[in-house]
Subunit: 333 residues, 4 copies
Amino acid sequence: MTKQIEVAMFGAGRIGNIHAGNVARHPGAKLRYVVDVHAPSAEALAAKHGARVASVEEALADKEVGAVVIGSSTDTHADLIKRAAAAGKAIFCEKPVDLDVERARACAKAVKDAGVTCMIGFQRRFDPTFAALKSRLEAGEIGEAEVLIVTSRDPAPPPASYIAHSGGVFKDMLIHDFDIFRWILGGEAVSVHATGGCPGLPEVAAAGDISHAAVTLRTRSGALCQINTSRRSAYGYDQRFEVLGSKGLLQAGNVRPTQVVAWNEHNISSDKPEAFFLERYRDAYALEIAHFFDALVNGTPVRTTIEDGIKALELAELATQSWREGKALECSI
Amino acid sequence: MTKQIEVAMFGAGRIGNIHAGNVARHPGAKLRYVVDVHAPSAEALAAKHGARVASVEEALADKEVGAVVIGSSTDTHADLIKRAAAAGKAIFCEKPVDLDVERARACAKAVKDAGVTCMIGFQRRFDPTFAALKSRLEAGEIGEAEVLIVTSRDPAPPPASYIAHSGGVFKDMLIHDFDIFRWILGGEAVSVHATGGCPGLPEVAAAGDISHAAVTLRTRSGALCQINTSRRSAYGYDQRFEVLGSKGLLQAGNVRPTQVVAWNEHNISSDKPEAFFLERYRDAYALEIAHFFDALVNGTPVRTTIEDGIKALELAELATQSWREGKALECSI
Amino acid sequence: MTKQIEVAMFGAGRIGNIHAGNVARHPGAKLRYVVDVHAPSAEALAAKHGARVASVEEALADKEVGAVVIGSSTDTHADLIKRAAAAGKAIFCEKPVDLDVERARACAKAVKDAGVTCMIGFQRRFDPTFAALKSRLEAGEIGEAEVLIVTSRDPAPPPASYIAHSGGVFKDMLIHDFDIFRWILGGEAVSVHATGGCPGLPEVAAAGDISHAAVTLRTRSGALCQINTSRRSAYGYDQRFEVLGSKGLLQAGNVRPTQVVAWNEHNISSDKPEAFFLERYRDAYALEIAHFFDALVNGTPVRTTIEDGIKALELAELATQSWREGKALECSI
Amino acid sequence: MTKQIEVAMFGAGRIGNIHAGNVARHPGAKLRYVVDVHAPSAEALAAKHGARVASVEEALADKEVGAVVIGSSTDTHADLIKRAAAAGKAIFCEKPVDLDVERARACAKAVKDAGVTCMIGFQRRFDPTFAALKSRLEAGEIGEAEVLIVTSRDPAPPPASYIAHSGGVFKDMLIHDFDIFRWILGGEAVSVHATGGCPGLPEVAAAGDISHAAVTLRTRSGALCQINTSRRSAYGYDQRFEVLGSKGLLQAGNVRPTQVVAWNEHNISSDKPEAFFLERYRDAYALEIAHFFDALVNGTPVRTTIEDGIKALELAELATQSWREGKALECSI
């Protein structure tokens, strides 16, 4: 049996628990440390998987630790990436790298200088439906991709206090969709236009952000992308996209909890989509962690690099600027 | 039995045939004249419905004629509207009023001065699916409308010779979608952004137009609209839209010719959408003509006025300008 | 222009109105007479289409009448068929030929002796969805047909007074489904089993009938058919079937009034099926009448003959017997 | 932490591997022994989960073993149930209890005498879609259940050698569907009719069995059930049912691997169903094992008892007799 990679997990909150469980289930990985500023959370998560609580310093100093998984709050990512890189650890980090592009680039440089693997958690690329669509697109099923339409809606807005420090809707929510744009259309943007508003959600406006956004991107080859997003959706989490190609269309739909269909005197109905990202992307989270450790074990490249994290962040920054200035922007990302 | 309204039909081509058939089937209307510069077409259509061939002058001079239906080529619309208005006839005219906004406004003035009824043929408002969605929206089923996403794709581009004189994709194709925007969101635009390209269709670029377009509109109340269009769709005519409201989502889907579903070793499949507009909007064309004559008989207002025709044209003009200049435009339409 | 076939319509009720309208719209036919024991109904229908009211004798004596359409009550069918045949008229008759197999056979003999065309109104064979499925089946898309599952549910039971004289559920409702069985599996039955009950509808039991039935048929080649029916369906008229073949499955689904889909906090819903047979089979009724007159004009055979009417009736009789005796019956129909 | 229940796993084949994995993942259970006549299989499975290989005798003699999971071949079930009961172990046994009703009843008596828990593996009751439908039915969503239609098709027939010793299609395949009948309609059968054939599969006929079957059941309350099954389905594993109630209809559909929809010049297609039972019922297998150990830990009853196993077997036996004799049978199960 191959030696397992020992892992230090940073962050014992909601997403930390997801990642820790997936690490524990992966035959090539072993959870050694859990690190969190909130001690009870760290202890509970460590106990659940037979791991130990440690400080950042202890975890990074331990030569047995081969990889770190960063699932702590966004403002800690950059620091942890740089320190983990300096310690020679392989890194899996939740998106975003940082809310600031310059700091994110500094992380990328640190990773490059250290020569370590660094994967950013764009889990949507690992969703079975999205991944199957991508494979069929690459196999030429619909010819050249010409238009991408992305719908991305959260069930309900986070508290205003969160929004105020979220970096804004483009960095907080749409960063995933910008990654989908880059992944599916396979080319970089030459123009970005973003607009939006807060219909029915004045508290989001009061926090300096928008709740509803519409983004348009164009690639050098003339392919178009429209993204629509909303921080509120009465029917739950909505995650769909469709790609028009020269020979047809591929759509990636939502996942329903069950396949029950009810017919009554009013209508014919089926389940609404999975409630939120933890349910919708349960498999995707497991598959991205598996991909990371498989890549480490096999010495193959990871699918979503820190460069991908920076490109998506740059698009989010441009979109923010476009929205604020009310202008379409040219770019070369 | 109420006296039937005698009708002069201008245009005996494809759409003229559709309208003439619907006039003939309406109990309140009677097709009296068919007018077309191409005599054999006029004769064939007149014979089919027991009508007579006439010149424009003859038809408009006949006091028995109460209404005209204009389905001739776009460049004849303005002149016919003005002459029919001057003759005191009720007017049904295919969209667009004209490709030039000033000329269209002159028509509106002529109609107003003459005090005649003038309905513009935005038949999509009469499509049973679209109309049912609109009714449910107005009944408050999803609360306030916040986001409208419109998909509008033609099966294949027309000849380059047509495109060169079509007024461009925004006036030729999207004018319908701009009307949908105004009808569904019920407010006027304060900003317009349009972009596009010709992926895979260089002949469209050579004709000075684009084949693929992405338009974003915002209303004063902060509602957003994204329209995506393409002059080519391998799977046929695609006409869908969806409206996100504060309490839910309403989608209007395509119509399939049959309800057969096939399961085989590859997949589970159903029919692709109706082939093109004549099939997709067959019922809508009949219902709009019925609405026009019912309104005349009952003295009630028509649902799509010449003002609607001008507003949609203004949006098409702004979108064209936005695309040409690469800028988002503010407006107050 | 070809001379139109002059038609006498027997029956001015609900289905008579449907057929008369379709006759009036067919370019090869002209409605000359309407015959009904209820004079006001006959007069209203005749006025609507510019026809005259006549007695059975007058209509059949008129040499100008080339065809009759029988849409009067079931108990008049046999007599009218025989008299029309004797008068040399082509005959279109609503199903069933008669509730009594012997009398139906006598009609078939009369038709044969007279050498006239006689089509029975199994309109479902003309439904666009059902007909498309049949064409694809015949084209070999799913190989040999092995299993047919038919679902056939009415929205609500008729009055007990009607049920008592309806001939029972197998002749009144399932006769259409027995025709579907023969049409789709293309072979005759070697065994019939029927059972049923009246869950929740004791008034149907009191009228000596059942409201819910389950029928199983087997053909000589070993193909199987299951039919399930109900006189009550809270969600409206349900008309579906599916055919399993050696290479796949073909399903024929219900038709929905519109393609609106609604998403809300409870579920995702679409329209329930068309309300009842007049809506569901509107196109089918027009197409079967068109087929009848096209066949007369062109001298081609009709698709649903009086023999088909008798075969379906024989199956209904066997099913009734199987249900009453609680036995599976062998047969050779 | 509660003490884990130590488990002996009988059978290390395909289904044994599934169950062993689910036992290993359950926090309340611990896999202690693997027993299989094929030593390499037993060793591989034991090694995978840190368990030990043992003989039946060793495993049952160990006082630490609290439960056994029987996933060995059908002909070993009865003996193992009786021995495990005698040893005082809680029992989870794959369906069927035995192919012989008398031997199955003897097992039930042994279980009762020993006072041990015995759950039979009707995993379909734990399928999320089927279980959700059942809950909604019990909540009264569609009123009283009146008609149940079950479609149950395997992708391809097993080898003739297997079929010859399978007990026939009614015991081998439909036993699951008989359990669905009892579970959903909640009443016992008063009549059973079964028929079938081997269209296109003469090798099944040569093995003394049928490949296609149609079963009709009626309950005392007059509810009806039709089951159709086939040992071959070109499009994969098909597992659907629908329940008509006095107030509506509930359908349980297949599960698709992904939610990709493709539109092209031929049609609009989605994935065919999950390939076979291991994929379709992956969650159900985990949930039934979890239910078993949760019941043991909490002292609550199991949902599918050995009595359920016998009732389903009795229906399978009656259906076999009905088919062989060509008769509808009355019964009181």
